[in-house]
């Protein structure tokens, strides 16, 4: 028996899992329209590769990954791209994002695809293929899998943690997936083991899912993957929390699990990897829980891009709907618009009713009871963070490790004053990011301004130098001319005074030469633009001249060329 560690805090909210976990999952029918957001993962958005009017096949690339942290997006079914234009996407801002709209043709015709013999190719190639297949972490954060497993040469993974904890109330997608697809999940885990080469592989599952545990144990019977039962405690499914429970190691503040020799992936991610390597299918569908105020709460396998209203319709909402939550009740976002499409990170849609989700109780002032600090799984001081965020003292909030907050909502859940603590933390985080962006922009502006000032100064100096040089040359030339003319005048005077005087030819020649030289110097000050050229410019001129000659020839023999002579 493995000795388990535990993380700080944690809460026991009502589970509400039995509502949706007992029905077998079903496959959603093809929706009339699919809307694929280009920003379904953490990192840079995908770059669209199709345009309106294109016919696409199931699994065809719609948008390719751009940049290191990014993932591709594929057509979930065959059909016609009707538009590439902004549409509301699942984002707390409710702002529109660029989406590819597809009208399915009903044939569901696959593009050519084949299994991947991943053990025969280098790991870097396998990672690149995962990137092209659009595989991202399906636990919620949608971090691209190929980035997570791109390990530095000196990095060793001691433990591979597979996350089947699913601690958030109401959600049962991983539970159902493990019950129904245990063997397939293990096939995917084998790929991750190949990539990370860990000393041990642990699957962490909360003890409220006995059937999933049994199914996974049966599937792992022949391998050395260990299924570990962990006590039910929210948020044990958080990456850092699960790692702490299973290995006793703490991911340092601001660090990643791979830094302490642990890699962590969700069971749904492993399943998606299995679909890719064993069938060649990119990530185009996922499991989602539809639950809450509906007649048949259940899990549905749904194509990415399906409008949420299609899912809710399948579960038959009951009267008294007061709203919807995308995600779980603890970490999800309230939405009103059901036209939002499913994205890779969507795991649950909850239909709210006044009975199941009574409106939040009115907040009261903080009484500094520190119950939130006792519940915080990241071992933070939420009450302090709340005061700092409220006072917009963001520097102080950062000092208190605001960015280690995983926004799990445990603090707000236990708060006797019902203060929406997580909202404060999200507000503070986005303000800090904004400031970060602004200071980066200011830094760029400063550099550009300084460069401009330096450039103006340099140009001024160069101009002054040129002028001074010109002035010096002009003076010298003028002096030479006056001198020469004075000499000539002297000679002429001598000649006039004495008609027999033979002018000294050599002297005269010297004078003339001096005048010529001076004149040449004056001329050199203002060279024509055809002089003093670089070889490149000369070559260019020669080329143009050649072209002109050809044109002249063409003009001399009209009719030889139908094209009118172009002016060069």
């Amino acid at each position: 028996m493995r000795r388990l560690d535990h993380f700080h805090g944690g809460i026991h909210p009502d589970e509400h899992k039995l509502e949706s976990s007992e029905l077998p999952s079903r496959i959603a029918p093809l929706p009339p329209q699919l809307i694929l957001s280009l920003h379904q993962h953490i990192g840079a958005g995908a770059k669209v590769q199709v345009q309106a009017g294109d016919h696409v096949l199931k699994g065809q690339l719609l948008a390719s990954a751009q940049g290191m942290v990014s993932a591709a997006i594929h057509a979930p079914t065959s059909g016609t791209v009707t538009a590439v234009r902004p549409h509301a996407v699942p984002h707390p801002s409710q702002l529109p994002g660029l989406c590819v709209h597809i009208e399915p043709d009903g044939k569901d015709q696959w593009i050519e695809h084949a299994p991947l013999a991943y053990r025969a190719i280098p790991k870097s190639e396998l990672l690149a293929k995962l990137r092209e297949a659009g595989i991202v972490g399906l636990g919620g954060a949608t971090f691209p899998t190929h980035v997570k497993y791109s390990l530095a040469p000196d990095q060793r993974i001691q433990t591979l943690v597979i996350n089947g904890a699913e601690c958030e109330p109401w959600i049962t997608t991983d539970d159902r997936l493990m019950r129904e697809r245990a063997a397939e999940i293990v096939r995917g885990i084998e790929v991750l083991r190949h990539l990370a080469a860990p000393a041990e592989t642990l699957i962490g599952i909360e003890d409220n899912k006995p059937q999933a545990i049994a199914a996974m144990r049966a599937a792992c019977a022949d391998s050395d993957i260990e299924v570990v039962i962990i006590p039910t405690l929210y948020p044990s499914g958080g990456e850092k929390q699960l790692i702490k429970i299973l290995t006793g190691k703490e991911v340092p503040s601001g660090g990643r699990p791979t830094g302490i020799g642990v890699a962590c992936s969700n069971v749904a991610t492993a399943f998606a990897i299995h679909r890719f390597v064993d069938y060649g299918e990119p990530l185009i569908s996922r499991q989602m829980t539809v639950t809450g105020n509906v007649r048949t709460p259940q899990n549905i396998e749904v194509l990415i891009g399906t409008p949420l209203q299609e899912l809710v319709r399948l579960a038959e909402p009951l009267p008294g709907v007061t709203g919807y939550i995308l995600g779980g009740p603890m970490m999800g976002v309230d939405i009103e618009d059901l036209r939002l499409p499913v994205v890779k990170g969507s795991n649950c849609i909850i239909v709210k009713s006044a009975k199941l989700f009574p409106p939040a109780e009115p907040a009261m002032p903080c009484i500094r009871c520190t119950r939130c600090a006792a519940a915080c799984p990241a071992d933070l001081q939420p009450q302090e963070l709340h005061w700092f965020s409220k006072a917009r003292d963001f520097g102080k909030a950062q000092e208190y490790n605001l960015f280690d907050c995983i926004e799990c909502g445990a603090c707000a859940y236990v708060c006797p004053s019902h203060i929406p603590l997580v909202q404060y933390f999200r507000f503070a985080k986005s303000e800090i990011w904004q400031r970060e962006r602004e200071s980066q922009a200011a830094e760029v502006a400063r550099e550009r301004h300084e460069f401009r000032l330096a450039r103006i100064e340099r140009e001024k100096q160069e101009k002054a130098e040129r002028l001074a040089q010109k002035e010096r040359e002009a003076t010298a030339a003028r002096e030479a001319i006056t001198l020469a003319q004075a000499l000539a005048a002297k000679q002429a005077a001598k000649q006039a005074a004495d008609p027999d005087f033979e002018p000294d030819n050599t002297q005269q020649m010297r004078i003339n030469a001096a005048i010529e030289r001076a004149k040449a110097q004056v001329a050199a000050e203002n060279p024509k633009n055809t002089e003093v050229l670089t070889p490149q410019q000369q070559a260019e001129i020669a080329e143009i001249e050649a072209r002109r000659a050809k044109l002249r020839e063409a003009a001399a023999h009209p009719g030889a060329d139908d094209e009118p002579p172009k002016h060069s």
Partner: protein, 191 residues
């Protein structure tokens, strides 16, 4: 007696040498305060403070010749930061001077005559163009200083607000009502 004197002389010479050396070695070029103030300023280089750029304004503040409330792009936050840095009291913006929403310049390319006047005015070289060629603004580099508006002879430059995108969206400050006292008759006595 004499040895004590020698010791004192020796110590003073040694310390003098150390001081002299460090004065040369650790000489501070320029005023470090100017750099610190400049780092707080938003670098729009707009000149709305009355100085030709952020650095000159920072120098003026460091010398005590300028107030800290002259920078509209920095906003109240900027004044607060300056006040904290300099150890002075916060001072609100004067009449009519206040922060405006961030915007970038936009050239109506149908109207632009290619005079290059805005090119010369732009403090961060964010305008591309040449004589008798159409000009255009590099929106990502534009600081929104509005210095290009005045020189344009055909008034083809306008300021455009930046639309909110998913990338720049911020969570709003939480607004909620506090619970009302259950029994309004039992109010706290007010003094």
């Amino acid at each position: 007696m004499i040895s004590a004197l020698w010791v004192m002389v020796g110590i003073s010479l040694l310390l003098g040498a150390v001081l002299g050396y460090s004065a040369i070695k650790f000489k501070v070029e320029g005023n470090p305060l100017v750099e610190k103030i400049d780092a707080v300023l938003p670098q729009t280089q707009c000149g709305q403070c009355g100085f030709p750029g952020c650095k000159p304004y920072a120098e003026a503040i460091a010398k005590g010749e300028a107030d800290i409330n002259l920078c509209p792009p920095g906003g109240e936050e900027g004044i607060r930061k300056l006040a904290e840095l300099l150890g002075v009291d916060y001072k609100p913006f004067g009449e009519g001077a206040g922060p405006r929403a961030k915007a970038v310049a936009f050239i109506d390319e149908n109207t632009c005559i290619g005079c290059t006047l805005c090119l010369q005015a732009c403090p961060v070289d964010a305008i591309v163009g040449a004589a008798k060629q159409m000009h255009t603004i590099i929106a990502s580099e534009c600081t929104g200083c509005e210095l290009c508006l005045a020189p344009c002879p055909v008034d083809c430059i306008s300021m455009m607000g930046l639309p909110e995108s998913i990338q720049t969206w911020k969570w709003p400050y939480p607004v909620y009502t506090l619970a009302q006292p259950k029994n309004p008759t039992r109010e706290m006595p007010t003094s």
